[in-house]
């Protein structure tokens, strides 16, 4: 599966509070509304610049903090194609796969905001079209890859009945 979009670059340790601020949690049963505020505390203008299909690119430990699944879900609903980061916080990583949001571990140093990226999930490759650079994506554990391919944990379990390890 190939995805093309622009990169929006963030630094290290973007927390779940940056992604979905607590003060908007009254919107949590109305996810499309909550999704209008994603990344607001990391970049107040993010949603003005962002177009559905774009990528979020970050440094290390993306998604640290809360276990709230609203964070990856809001990114997905906002239209984020994938998050590409040097590393992810554990719970966020798992939640993202479970809701069907691709999360890719790669060296993001050469990517800048506005760069046009092409991501090939099957090949595990990020192509920076603007800069003409290819970046390898770290393989996803097999069990998570299977879940991601089915679009998330719920659809995986509905189809297969259970998870086999």
């Amino acid at each position: 599966m190939k995805m093309v979009g622009r990169a929006w670059k963030f630094g290290d340790d973007i927390s779940t509070d940056h992604i979905t601020p607590g003060r908007y949690y009254h919107l949590r049963s109305n996810m499309p509304e909550l999704a209008k505020h994603v990344m607001e505390d990391a970049d107040p203008d993010f949603m003005k610049k962002f177009r559905p299909g774009d990528f979020i690119v970050a440094g290390k430990n993306f998604g640290m903090g809360s276990s709230r699944e609203h964070a990856p879900l809001a990114l997905k609903i906002a239209g984020v194609s994938a998050v590409i980061a040097k590393s992810f916080a554990r719970i966020f990583y798992r939640n993202a796969i479970n809701v069907g949001l691709p999360v890719l571990i790669a060296d993001t140093d050469s990517i800048d905001s506005g760069d046009e990226l092409e991501v090939d999930l099957g090949k595990g490759l990020v192509v920076n079209r603007t800069k003409g650079i290819e970046i390898r994506v770290k393989p996803i554990p097999e069990v998570m890859l299977k879940i991601l391919h089915e679009g998330g944990l719920v659809s995986y379990v509905k189809k297969h009945g259970d998870i086999k390890i």
Binding site: H18, P21, Y25
Partner: protein, 418 residues
């Protein structure tokens, strides 16, 4: 095969001998859900099993409302109403708004050494203070657990933090864990279990151990753990449920990554804005003017924390520029503080004492800060916007620093007063 406590718990829960790094399917002993994360978990659960779904074992699922308590809006009230109905239909134990913070309820009433526990909240790692393996999971994983009673895991490696030396007056478990987070960084223990050990930890009471395990997630830890000992058994007995089962512990020659800390001469520690690993000694931030002080949360809202604060606040008044909010962590802690006169001390000092709940720590309910304001808090996170305005600032401290700060209106070293 020499095993860590973590490997032993996963071996027991998966029915085969496992090592760190292996992927396993493990049976869950207890599952905790609360008012923020339960709705999505229930949605996933019903999508998996259908609208008439029943949880795998109603005696193993515990619900509590603590983030928006008492209901702070019609929206929160509707949410509580829906969850109440779910608990009734399923026959699961629901503490509703009456128990306090879910994590504190869990350790007081349910957690036992050696258990494998999941909670739909990142601070579930606190329960490891009783020798259990407990970890926070997202709502969809929780939906799977509610349906199947099991979950897949990668068995984590363990970091053993060996804490030596002698603690100064007004230096507590909070300061030790803040120091460790500052040392290893916000992702220093990502995917790993944090086992706190050494002569200092052995002497710590359960309240301090809970504080340290609670904050394991702030260095990315999958669990915080203290190997069970006499203190663990005494705590369980004091909670009215003496434990006589097997006490799993790490083998002497098990494999750990080791981190050493000598706390001798260490001053109270402060996590400065806007990162929990931005840790400094109090001398670096003393004198910072403060608008709000919060004493409470699952990190530091227990009777022991309230007692430390009350001893400093006794006969004193909160500074005119400060609002002090005190919230006991649970109904049980509240009653004990009330009986022993602590609540009267807080009220006399001019504090606002609220009913047990997460309070300002959630940042979406009450007790919020405005732009440009500074909060000093005994809770566990100081991220931007965590307690209200993204233009506010949060400093994380121990309860003695919080109490001294409330009196003087600026960040104050409790060792320098009285």
């Amino acid at each position: 095969m020499a095993q860590t406590l973590v490997e032993k718990i996963f071996s027991k829960a998966s029915g085969k001998e496992v090592k760190a790094g292996e992927f396993v399917m493990a049976n869950i002993d207890l599952a905790m859900i609360h008012d923020i994360t339960a709705p999505l978990a229930i949605k996933a659960f019903r999508e998996i099993l259908g609208s008439d779904a029943k949880v795998w074992d109603k005696s193993k699922v515990i619900m509590a409302f603590d983030h928006q308590v008492p209901a702070d809006s019609v929206h929160a009230a509707e949410n509580h109403k829906m969850l109440r109905k779910f608990a009734e239909e399923q026959g699961i134990l629901n503490y509703d708004v009456k128990g306090g913070i879910a994590h504190q309820i869990m350790v007081e009433n349910h957690v036992e050494p050696g258990m494998l526990i999941v909670g739909a909240d990142s601070h579930t790692c606190m329960y490891g203070a009783l020798g259990a393996f407990a970890t926070g999971i997202g709502s969809t994983d929780m939906g799977f657990v509610l349906a199947m009673g099991k979950l897949w895991f990668k068995v984590p490696e363990s970091i053993r933090f060996n804490v030596h030396g002698k603690l100064e007056k007004h230096v507590y478990g909070k300061d030790i864990v803040l120091k460790l987070i500052g040392m290893v960084g916000a992702d220093g223990a990502n995917y790993k279990a944090c086992i706190y050990s050494g002569e200092v930890v052995e002497k710590l009471g359960m309240s301090d151990r809970l504080t340290m395990c609670n904050m394991a997630i702030e260095m990315g830890g999958k669990a915080g753990i203290v190997e069970p000992d006499k203190t663990t058994l005494e705590y369980l007995k004091a909670m009215g449920r003496p434990y006589e089962g097997e006490l799993l512990k790490s083998d002497e020659d098990a494999e750990f990554q080791e981190v050493e800390l000598d706390v001798t001469g260490m001053e109270p520690q402060v996590a400065a804005p806007h990162r929990v690993d931005n840790v400094v000694g109090i001398s670096e931030v003393e004198g910072t003017r403060v608008d709000q002080v919060f004493i409470g949360s699952c990190t530091n809202g227990r009777y022991e924390d309230l007692k430390i604060a009350a001893e400093i606040l006794k006969g004193e008044k909160v500074a005119s520029n400060v609002r002090l909010i005190v919230i006991p962590a649970s109904h049980r802690e509240y009653r004990r503080a009330l009986k022993e006169g602590l609540i009267e001390i807080f009220v006399d000092a001019g504090a606002l004492v609220e009913a047990p709940c997460c309070g300002p720590c959630m940042g979406g309910s009450f007790g919020l800060i405005a732009s440009g304001e500074v909060s000093v808090s005994t809770s566990n996170r100081n991220f931007i916007g965590r307690q209200g305005s993204p233009e506010g600032k949060i400093y994380l401290v121990n309860p003695a620093v919080a109490a001294a700060t409330a009196i003087y209106g600026e960040i104050t070293d409790p060792r320098k007063i009285k």
